[in-house]
Assembly symmetry: C2
DNA sequence: TATGACGTTCCGTGGGACGGAACATCGATC
DNA sequence: GATCGATGTTCCGTCCCACGGAACGTCATA
């Protein structure tokens, strides 16, 4: 394993919180000798990729800066933000934008007001495709091949309400394909629910948008049209800003 | 120079746009032999830190994910977002949150609506402290030592309106210290202006908040109180969420 | 004082990073 | 189609420096 791979392993070991982690923690997580970990952490600190603090190491600002300019996510975000705003104002509920990576959703942007509920999602964080509204929207429009791959594996469960039954999942994916809307009720987090809609660029589903509320005040009929409108707006904005090559 | 340093140099060379860059571009920017650049790019691609595309390399999603969970920026962002929202709704103008790094401001979050003007700022991007509203707010409350260091160097200029006169800068910093507000008119970008206010945690200025508008409709009297209220709200939220160690 | 957990320094060894040279692959120009 | 320049890629011998075990320093707690 090269020096680079090891360093990457070390940075990755800070997930999902970003730290703080002690030398011993990092060393254990990466299964690297203490000495090696120590040296690499020192070098990474030199570069600003990690910061030393009294209580251990945390990921550093330089990483934040680099991460912020990653083109794919940045373009999507820039195009989506104004519409996410509209959606927030129309609903006053937490708004998420996410993309797919493998069998996970990766959250790209999150908007919430003062009363926003505590959700397990964080920007840059991952959750299983099948446990979230955005995930189901992304999956439904990702093509048969991926759907079959997901159905071929045991479904992950985050709460007692997470879908683990294949036919129920298939059913909800078909419904999403037909209506352009995916629902989720307490499948990712007890007490919260959401409606999600896919976002397209050049006919390909590249992201999904959702609105989450406490289950107690979940009003799909009110939220669904707003989500759909916003998602459509983003799709149009993407088409406008990125001329086909 | 170690392998790690070189790789970092390569990633850094993608600033400020994130790419796409061709092998030859990267090699030239880093002053590294073509061969070495080629090998390192291949390894970075393997890790997901960069993506290969037909027209060159771009920074990859893995970097985005890591950058998103950097604790310092994330905490600040989480605390600030609801208040930035309020500010946007009260003013309907582009809202910025930034921190200081050395003699630059680094933008941490940006909120804008459909009609938001094209600004040179981007999240994760840098601008000189003295050319921006947030920069002046950060500088004014960063301590005498830093102020003197800045005054001791030639002031950078982005537009014909950028402040290059030491006494004028000093004056505006004193004014910021007294009023808790910093102004900027066409000093970073022709045609735009802003008002900024500092954000404190444990009595230390850790960030600054601003509202930017086209100079034509710039109404400091209307914007200033809103910015100040929002900045104060963030300071309080930070104090609430992070118990003093 | 003994004991353990943790971070740090030291240093001999061996693997792999290094980069020059040569090759491959394209367009452009004549 | 021959020549050229610019680009990306492969090859491989040299040599350096990354590696990690061992030993040490420094705190806590028993």
């Amino acid at each position: 394993m090269s020096m680079l791979e090891k360093s990457w392993l070390i940075l990755d070991s800070f997930r999902p919180t970003g730290g703080p982690l002690r030398l011993a923690d990092v060393s254990a997580r990466c299964r690297l000798p203490k000495t090696t970990t120590h040296r690499l952490l020192a070098e990474l600190a030199e570069l600003g990729a990690v910061d030393r603090q009294d209580d251990g190491y945390i990921l550093g600002r330089a990483l934040f800066e680099l991460g912020s300019i990653v083109p794919l996510e940045r373009d999507l975000r820039d195009a989506a933000l104004p519409f996410m705003h509209d959606l927030y104002e129309a609903t006053r509920e937490t708004v998420h934008l996410a993309v797919r990576d493998g069998l996970d959703v990766v959250y790209v942007e999150k908007l919430r007001g003062h009363e926003g509920l505590a959700l397990p999602s964080r920007v840059g964080g991952r959750l299983p495709l099948t446990c979230t509204g955005v995930g189901k929207a992304l999956l439904a429009f990702a093509g048969e091949q991926l759907i079959e791959e997901v159905l071929g594996r045991p479904l992950r469960r985050l709460t007692p309400h997470s879908i683990v039954d294949r036919s129920r999942l298939e059913e909800s994916l078909v419904s999403a394909q037909q209506t352009g809307l995916a629902y989720e009720r307490q499948e990712a987090q007890p007490g919260s629910a959401c409606v999600a809609a896919p976002v397209f660029r050049d006919g390909v589903c590249v992201a999904a948008l959702s609105v989450s509320t406490p289950i107690a005040r979940f009003q799909p009929a009110r939220l669904a049209p707003a989500v759909k409108t916003a998602a459509l707006g983003i799709s149009r904005a993407l088409a406008r800003h990125t001329p086909p090559r």
